[in-house]
Point group: C2
Chain length 237, copies 2
């Protein structure tokens, strides 16, 4: 989408939220921000739009941790060759609770999740596309870890897995095999809904009292030892 | 043990380390520190001694997060009625790598683990006795979470489970059913050795290059966004 938010994907998401009167956390899409002057390049972010039922963009999360990894013989990926990292910890209020948003690799950083929890989030949402190496090893584990540490729901949405292009295919863009497995995890760390790597719809009822209950029964949030360590959210006003 | 470290359990651990020329992280035991003046009560900590092969006590971790939980109808426990919390993040150097130590409930606090990782630990050890409610739900999950977040080995040692005393027993102390399941987890988050709830010996070879390898391939430690959040270890000199 352009910085003017006039791109078709933005219209599509806003229209869908309005039409169906629903909250949409719209996966993530590349966002091009034109250069401020002619001697500079434009900037591209990996961006997730959060839209209210009235069609208002209530949060725009730009992925803060770029996916630069090199697992020899398995997968090498350098997102920072193309993208820039965002500079906000992104949260917004919904009538059913405060929601925090990260994208994919962001889920590996407990500090970002803690910042969102400290702002009062009871749901963390991570659109993400783990791969066939890190997916089976860490995708569900990290969701359950963030849920139990934060005593919150964790919801993820992944693209389905597509087959690699045929060898005689004329496709020039690189193929990426996503792990899939969109999932919902409860504050107790239980997978309450999930799916496989195919196209799917994952539905879950979130009983928000479960977050309050766990926070009351195992009150880690109140038991932090702020005399020994402090987690500071530098973006908080 | 007394504050003079003359108690039999201290001697036992020190002698065993010396005799077998091994490093011992000696579970945890109550440590009584006499009051500094007659109008005060003595203090009791939940303490883990770390002893070198020469018999030197190289670290003494006093559990910092006290286990005060109330899961209605399942388990209620108030460690702070009896114990005081320690005030150190505890790490020590061994020839095979720096080791960090927490006790049981400490494992629920990613901040403490992060402090130990930032000091350079490649092994985190948590003696602990989770119960029959939190054990099956969270014991392994939290170990794997701390391992993948910190890209380090996580080792735990739990007491075996003992049967509740017979109803006509004259035992007056309360019974506690430990979950057991002492475990070793790799930096990739895999359980490399574990056991059930009975008396057991868990042995694991730790290939320390695995921690370096994971830190190199998925370099989250270098990718922290210190412009957005900062985790401060207030105990670090």
């Amino acid at each position: 989408m352009s910085s003017k938010e006039e791109a078709p994907s933005v219209h599509f998401l806003v229209d869908a939220a309005r039409k169906h009167e629903m909250w949409i956390i719209g996966g993530s899409i590349p966002e091009i921000v034109p250069a401020s002057s002619s001697d500079k390049d434009s900037t591209i972010f990996n961006t997730c739009l959060c839209i209210s039922p009235s069609g208002e963009i209530v949060a725009k999360h730009r992925k803060v941790h770029l996916f630069d990894i090199d697992v020899p013989g398995k997968i090498t990926f350098r997102e920072s060759d193309t993208l820039s990292g965002g500079s906000t910890i992104s949260t917004f209020d919904a009538p059913f609770g405060k929601i925090g948003v990260g994208i994919c690799y962001d889920i590996r950083f407990p500090e970002q999740a803690q910042c969102m929890i400290e702002r009062g989030c009871k749901i963390l949402v991570y659109p993400g596309a783990f791969n066939l190496t890190t997916g089976p090893a860490h995708w569900e584990l990290l969701q359950r870890a963030r849920a139990v540490d934060g005593q919150c729901f964790v919801l993820t949405a992944s693209p389905a897995r597509s087959d690699p292009p045929a060898e005689d295919s004329k496709t020039s863009y690189p193929h990426y095999s996503a792990w899939g497995h969109s999932t919902a995890v409860s504050p107790w760390g239980e997978v309450i809904a999930t799916c496989d790597e195919k196209e799917n719809m994952v539905l879950a009822d979130l009983d928000m009292s479960l977050a309050d209950e766990m926070r009351k029964s195992i009150p880690t949030t109140l038991q932090k030892r702020s005399d020994l360590y402090v987690m500071s959210d530098l973006t908080r006003k």
